[in-house]
């Protein structure tokens, strides 16, 4: 089932997009009050990683007074192993804009920021051209009429930093500042860009909205497996034969993703683990192969779906080296506001690098365990939690790999 990756949607011209899509936005314009109930009935969740029910964010912003409310379509995407948003932005820019306009109608927002990582030059270019086409199209005027203000689309290049994907950081960045995450509350829904109520959603979440409005909540919910709703883009990478972007029903098993869609393990090696995007969660192991990949099932197993990035690790790949690589990424990405994060991620990265280079000492493992216990919850955003989680999980699940590095 191809919804977001339907080849017919991979078009550059707005007319070509509207020839096969656009019904979602038209339906939204016919019945603006019906949008949020439809999103709720569809079971749409925040697909940037949090899995927060989309309708609650949307209702919160809709309840705030206008004018001048904002929508940020978050396409900052910078974590290792995740490569879904760049596809949506570069290949289906109109799908993303249509979804964002559905949200604009639902929450009565007039400022739509298409917030993109500038490293994805193709996405920035495609989005700019697409936005210009929408500006000249009567559908945007129709949206403005329903919103009650002139709706503007603006493409905002993000800082390109990982931290800029956090929602309060995205707000700060759209305001023109450095993407420092802020303490919550207040949430962007109440106090966002310039103090205005702001809906921050991942571009994949928004892209789903048009399809839900066009074909109905029941249809969308039915795409998922079991209790899970809809479809999800999985960024599959690592030691599989066919890495890449796979659009699959929410609730697909890890086994199906790796062994059917991914062509199985590269070179027939044994399956060892999966780092989920990104990559800041508890590792999945062979015992989790049959778990359904949706927000609730993975949470029940003590892990998270995250961005849907699945970095597969075989027997031939070192968990220690992978963990060191990801913690080094988090350490380099810390914004430095919160001392425990700034110093803690640095120390963890340093210790892991030492172990990896064969220079570790027995006390290093204990220091790592202490840091893994000490650091969670010490930052205003989730960065340090993610680093600590992936560290704690790899230490607990693969202690022998750490021990071997000490020989």
């Amino acid at each position: 089932m191809r919804v977001l990756t339907d080849p017919a949607l991979r078009v550059a011209a707005l007319a070509d997009h509207l020839a096969v899509a656009g019904d979602g936005l038209r339906a939204a314009l016919r019945d603006p009050a019906g949008i949020i109930p439809a999103i709720e009935a569809a079971g749409l969740r925040g697909l940037g990683g949090a899995g927060f029910p989309a309708h609650r964010k949307w209702a919160a912003v809709a309840a705030e007074p206008g004018p001048g409310k904002w929508i940020i379509a978050n396409g900052n995407e910078d974590e290792p192993g995740t490569f879904k948003d760049r596809f949506l932005l570069a290949e289906t820019p109109h799908q993303v804009i249509e979804g964002a306009l559905v949200a604009a109608v639902a929450v009565r927002a007039s400022r739509v920021a298409l917030y993109v990582n500038p490293r994805e030059a193709a996405g920035v270019r495609a989005l700019r051209e697409a936005a210009a086409a929408w500006e000249a199209h009567p559908l945007l005027a129709a949206v403005s009429a329903v919103v009650g203000e002139a709706v503007e689309l603006r493409v905002v290049e993000s800082s390109g930093l990982y931290i800029g994907g956090e929602e309060t950081a995205a707000v700060a960045s759209v305001q023109g500042g450095f993407p420092f995450p802020a303490l919550k509350p207040p949430f962007p829904a109440q106090h966002g860009v310039g103090g205005a109520p702001t809906l921050v959603n991942n571009v994949e979440t928004l892209a789903q909205a048009g399809h839900i409005l066009a074909k109905g909540a029941a249809w969308y919910r039915g795409l998922g497996i079991g209790d899970a709703a809809g479809v999800k883009l999985f960024s599959l990478s690592g030691d599989v034969l066919r890495p890449g972007l796979h659009e699959l029903p929410m609730g697909t098993s890890l086994r199906a993703l790796v062994f059917e869609h991914g062509g199985g393990m590269l070179g027939g090696r044994g399956f060892k683990a999966v780092f989920t995007g990104g990559p800041s969660n508890t590792l999945l192991t062979a015992a989790d192969l049959d778990v359904a990949m949706d927000f609730d099932s993975l949470r029940a197993r003590g892990s998270r779906l995250g961005t849907g990035a699945m970095i597969v690790v075989s027997d031939g790949t070192s968990i220690l080296r992978k963990t060191a690589e990801y913690v080094a990424f988090f350490a380099a990405s810390s914004c430095g506001q919160c001392p425990p994060c700034k110093v803690g991620t640095f120390q963890v990265a340093r210790l892991l690098e030492r172990l990896e280079a064969g220079a570790g000492r027995p006390g290093d493992l204990e220091a790592l365990r202490n840091l893994a216990a000490l650091l969670p919850g010490s930052g205003r955003c989730g960065l340090v939690d993610g680093a600590a989680t992936v560290l704690a999980s790899s230490l607990a699940t693969f202690p022998e790999e750490y021990a071997r590095a000490l020989r």
Binding site: L266, G267, E356, G358
Partner: protein
């Protein structure tokens, strides 16, 4: 085939050999052209290029190590990593260190244990008054059948005179012209096969050994170079952007994996003679197993003319325990003649090596060869040479006389039985004039590189190449070293490589590099299995 005694009894006729068409001779008898000798490469950046099957098996193999093997391994740091301790590697290491870089050199055997020391004939450089760079350039291109890279050849011949000056500065000795004073004398120049001028400079008939003697000493005396002997590289390391950032080595003494991280890597791993293509014996040393080609190709370095190998005409055919051992071209340059079993000359002895080798193989194939104890070959007439120039064997062709002594005969009375021996890899890893490969951070020099010799190397150009391009690659590598230390270094290139093997339907259980020939009794597999268990 003509028996040994009968051949010795046949009077040798010094009349010039009959003329023949060189192209059809090469097509008919050169091993590169034998039917089925080449297969097209199926994976990698040079897919489609013809390549000897034995080499293709190695180039299209899976790696010896994977990510899990390098976790927790001792990490050495350097600015420039040189892989290979022959002439090109040592010259590159010296040049990089003198340019200020911290250099680490990994050698599979010991420093100097390579083919450089076996280069007997000499080194070409256009230093004669009647000679010119242009003639050296044209001779090189012509001998290589115009398949060499003109820019590379131009760079090499221009470097020639300066390379000789540099070698003399390092302390290398050269033969002086007859009657010249030791102080201020002129270099003795000989006319090498395939050249239009007397351009071959030499030190007796062990020029390469003399070169290696001084370069090796210079490496040991230069601060800033760390040498790890008996540390073969088994894989290259990359950073997340695909830049080469070091190597995975095996410490053969401690039987452990060691990592070397560096800002730039110079591959100087030499050739592939020990693959014994088409069953030929080889003049090459024990380590010539094409390791560098395998590693570089896996990383995305382009190869060129890998279908072309040089078979040196005068390898020993008898006695069998010395089969393949080289007799210097100096013997022919000094006037030594080749005879078949009928006592006839069959080729101009100073024609390019591929032509002479093909002509010998023609004599063998067409029954005019000489057989001694089941070994077939033709005669190198050392008695005739000694008669024409009394004392030459003892004074100038020292190595040749030593070989005859080992074989148990007197070369002044008995000729050598010779046949072509697998000698040199004409092609290799494609480079530019600074020794850069297609992979950022990866440089290459010496026999491992390709482009300088086209389809046939001229005698004396191998030593010149290793000096000229060892210096060029060493300097360029020192320049390319980055301020920051490479990060995220690993084996990320291997997954994509393995997917390519699967897509091409190639086996995944074939492993390379070879490192040591199978008859070497070094159980590499056992050493690598131990690494995981340890």
């Amino acid at each position: 085939m003509i028996g040994w005694e009968q051949a010795l009894a046949t009077p040798r006729d010094a009349a010039p050999p009959p003329a023949f068409d060189k192209e059809s001779l090469l097509r008919g008898f050169h091993p590169d052209h034998a039917p089925g000798a080449m297969v097209p490469l199926r994976v990698g950046v040079s897919a489609g290029q013809p390549c000897p099957a034995a080499l293709a098996d190695l180039l299209q193999a899976n790696a010896l190590v994977e990510d899990v093997d390098i976790a927790g391994r001792a990490m050495r740091e350097a600015e420039v990593l040189v892989v290979g301790g022959g002439g090109a590697g040592c010259v590159a290491a010296l040049t990089a260190a003198r340019a200020g870089a911290r250099v680490l050199m990994l050698t599979k055997l010991r420093m100097g244990d390579g083919n450089t020391v076996m280069a007997e004939g000499g080194i070409q450089a256009a230093v004669g008054a009647e000679d010119s760079l242009q003639r050296h350039y044209e001779d090189t291109l012509r001998a290589g059948h115009f398949r060499a890279d003109r820019a590379l050849v131009a760079a090499m011949v221009q470097d020639g005179p300066e390379a000789i000056r540099w070698l003399i500065q390092q302390g290398m000795g050269f033969d002086l012209a007859e009657g010249e004073d030791r102080i201020g004398g002129h270099l003795r120049r000989k006319k090498p096969g395939g050249a239009t001028a007397a351009r071959l400079l030499s030190f007796r008939d062990y020029t390469g050994l003399e070169l290696m003697r001084v370069i090796r000493e210079a490496v040991l005396l230069t601060p800033g170079i760390t040498v790890l002997e008996r540390h073969p590289a088994v894989e290259l390391l990359t950073d997340p952007h695909g830049r080469c950032a070091g190597a995975v080595a095996l410490d053969l003494e401690r039987r452990e994996i060691l990592l070397a991280r560096a800002g730039a890597v110079v591959l100087a791993t030499g050739g592939a003679g020990r693959l014994h293509l088409s069953g030929f014996p080889t003049s090459n040393h024990y380590g010539a197993t094409a390791d560098g080609l395998v590693l570089a190709y896996r990383l995305g370095a382009r190869l060129r003319e890998v279908e072309s190998f040089q078979y040196h005409p005068t390898g020993i055919a008898w006695p069998p325990h010395l089969a393949g051992t080289l007799i210097s071209e100096a013997a022919r340059a000094a006037g030594g003649k080749l005879f078949n079993g009928l006592g006839d000359r069959f080729v101009d002895e100073l024609a390019p090596r591929d032509v002479v080798a093909a002509a010998i193989l023609r004599e063998i194939a067409e029954g005019r060869a000489v057989a001694r104890e089941g070994c077939a070959g033709v005669l190198l007439d050392t008695p005739g040479l000694e008669a024409a120039q009394p004392g030459i064997l003892a004074k100038r062709l020292v190595t040749l006389s030593h070989l005859a002594h080992r074989a148990g005969f007197d070369p002044a009375r008995e000729p050598f039985l010779i046949r072509p021996t697998l000698h040199y890899q004409n092609g290799g890893i494609a480079i530019d004039a600074e020794g850069r490969t297609a992979v950022p951070g990866l440089f290459c020099a010496g026999e491992a590189s390709g482009g300088l010799h086209g389809l046939n190397r001229l005698m004396g150009n191998a030593l010149l190449e290793l000096v000229a391009f060892g210096r060029r690659a060493g300097a360029a590598a020192a320049e390319a070293v980055r301020e920051d230390r490479p990060r995220g270094v690993g084996l990320t290139h291997l997954a994509e490589w393995e997917r390519g093997l699967v897509a091409a339907g190639l086996p995944l259980d074939r492993r390379a590099p070879m490192v040591f020939p199978a008859y070497g009794n070094v159980d590499l597999a056992a050493m690598l299995r131990k690494r995981v268990a340890a």
